[in-house]
């Protein structure tokens, strides 16, 4: 290809620098984030634990705030399996897994029913 003749070698050199620095910084950034989010729960857990300890709700050697149990995990796994088998049917470029959350709407509040009956035409 003729294009090959045009490459200025300096671009390669600068490109290599960018690549090296780039991969280094991407790792650094995500590693720092990883570090921070590794510490946050421990920090909160400790706060919670010392609070519970103070209040005498747990004893000194007891664990507090445990992770999910094995059964829970199995249940999730099963659910995931069901989820995967329906996969073909879902719209797929979009991310992710969301809880169905009951959503408070003021429009459903009792007042409207009442108003509806006797206040507005």
């Amino acid at each position: 290809m003729e294009l090959l003749l045009v490459i200025p070698p300096v671009d390669i050199k600068l490109g290599l620098i960018i690549a090296l620095v780039g991969i280094l910084i991407v790792f650094t950034a995500l590693a720092v984030m990883s570090l921070i989010f590794n510490q946050i729960p421990k920090f909160f857990k400790n706060q919670k634990r010392s609070k519970l300890l103070k209040e005498g709700k747990i004893k000194d050697h007891e664990e507090c705030c445990t992770d999910l149990s094995g059964e829970t995990n199995a249940a999730i796994a099963l659910a995931l399996h069901l989820y995967m088998s329906e996969m073909h049917d879902m719209e797929s470029n979009v991310i992710t897994i969301e809880k169905v959350s009951r959503r408070y709407s003021p429009w459903n509040s009792k007042i409207y029913g009442l108003r509806n009956l006797n206040f507005n035409k």
Binding site: V26, L30, D67, L68, T72, H81, M87, V94, I95
Partner: protein, 449 residues
């Protein structure tokens, strides 16, 4: 037989019209119309009309001929048909086989729309590259880099970062999979692209359409100068390549994943994720924004919007905004970006050697990225206690392509052990990959803008 009848009908129709236009042969379909001549012909003809000296039957014939010269039939070239076939292929793959339909259907239809042949430079204001056309106005959201951040806003409002927060070390897998970006950058330089072009091509390896489009709109937009050389406009090919390979993730990744892992590794069971508190979920976008954007401010338009969308979601008090961001707004922008990216493949601009090279580089990029993620997972395992080890199959999910790549991990995991579900573990590196490639884009923009 009836099929033949239909085809015959169409040929008859074309024949009838071409009979009415004797000077233009059907064989001309393949030639590029020399716009000026036809236009000139038109104006001379209209002055003829002004003299009003011919019979009206003759007039009507000239009218048809004139109209014909503006039609798609008169302006079609083999390139147009190739692109139309490509568009049909996209539609077929997405509708029939479900490959990323929300992106490929708009892009496929956009390719058809962008490759209807018309008389260039005739002032009809149709083409996407023609100032004043509707498509050109809509395309502005691509060239100005406005659509990608809005998509990131919607993705942020849609994405549950719980899995990532519950297992932060998977962030590193999202970093490792960016290897594809930088390897491709170098490879593209060797193929003769300028540095900004090469950087934009590299981002294809991030497996993230909006990030790729944003980077290309900044660096390979046909305007950007570098060492006195004007960059080519590569937004179209880069976007098409990125989305194509994202759709093909279920075909590209598995062989590489199996090649790089042992049976034993593929069987690794991971600890179930821990419960994540609401506070952590709220802190995540705030800390994520500050940290990543302090490091790479150029990633702000992408990551700022991603984390903005996520806090709308997680704050718990702005649900209606998050809902709109991830439904109406995301859908509108998806429709417009798909359509215009598709239409930007206008044959005369798209079908170049560069596009071919970009497609080749994109494939390499995805493979290296996959390999990077999987290998780094194996490397991590050397330093981790046995109970904390990660299944290297989730490393490949670091390329982003959310959630397709995570599903590939799940499927490959089930293939090795039908009771070992990796999906939720793979969501961590998967969304980390989005952050990782946006940071990588930001770094390259810092260097090259």
């Amino acid at each position: 037989m009836k099929r033949a009848l239909t085809v015959f009908g169409i040929i008859l129709f074309l024949g009838l019209i071409s009979w009415a236009v004797p000077n233009q042969k059907m064989g001309d379909l393949g030639r590029e119309v020399a716009g000026n001549e036809v236009v000139k012909e038109k104006s001379s003809q209209s002055s003829d009309l002004n003299q009003g000296s011919q019979a009206s039957a003759d007039h009507a014939k000239r009218g048809v001929k004139n109209f014909w010269s503006y039609s798609g039939f008169a302006n079609a070239s083999i390139k147009h048909f190739l692109m139309i076939l490509a568009g049909l292929l996209f539609l077929y793959l997405s509708i029939r086989h479900g490959f990323e339909p929300l992106l490929l259907v708009p892009i496929g239809m956009g390719i058809l729309i962008g490759n209807i042949p018309f008389l260039l430079n005739s002032g009809m204001e149709i083409g996407i590259y023609e100032k004043g056309s509707v498509l050109n106005y809509l395309y502005f959201g691509v060239t100005a880099g406005i659509y990608p951040p809005l998509i990131f806003l919607g993705l942020g409002a849609m994405t549950d970062f719980s899995y990532l927060i519950s297992n932060p070390k998977t962030l590193l897998l999202g970093a490792a999979a960016q290897l594809g970006i930088f390897v491709t950058l170098i490879a593209a330089l060797y193929l003769g692209f300028t540095l900004p072009e090469a950087a934009s091509i590299g981002i294809i390896g991030g497996a993230d359409g909006p990030t790729a489009i944003y980077t290309a709109s900044r660096l390979a937009n046909g305007v950007k100068m570098w060492n006195g050389i004007q960059s080519a406009n590569l937004i179209g090919p880069i976007a098409i390549a990125a989305y194509s390979y994202m759709a093909l993730v279920p075909l590209i990744q598995p062989p590489i994943m199996r090649l790089l892992t042992t049976k034993k590794e593929r069987l690794i069971r991971m600890k179930s994720p821990r419960q994540v508190s609401r506070l952590e979920k709220i802190l995540f976008p705030i800390i994520g924004l500050l940290l990543t954007c302090f490091i790479a401010p150029s990633a702000l338009p992408l990551l700022g919007m991603l984390f903005f969308g996520n806090i709308l979601r997680e704050s718990g008090v702005t649900r209606r905004l998050a809902d709109t961001a991830k439904t109406s707004l995301l859908d509108i922008v998806t429709i417009l970006i798909g359509l215009t990216v598709g239409a930007s493949t206008q044959a005369d601009v798209f079908l170049t050697t560069k596009s071919l090279m970009i497609f080749a580089l994109g494939a390499v990029s995805f493979m290296v990225a996959t390999a990077g993620g999987v290998s780094f997972a194996k490397l991590m395992n050397l330093f981790l206690k046995p109970e904390n080890r990660v299944n290297p199959l989730i490393g490949s999910a670091g390329v982003s392509a959310v959630p397709a790549a995570a599903r590939v991990s799940q499927v490959e995991g089930l293939r090795a052990d039908p009771t070992n579900h990796l999906l939720m573990h793979a969501m961590g590196p998967n969304v980390a990959g989005v952050i990782g490639s946006a940071v990588a884009a930001g770094i390259m923009l810092s260097f090259l803008l």
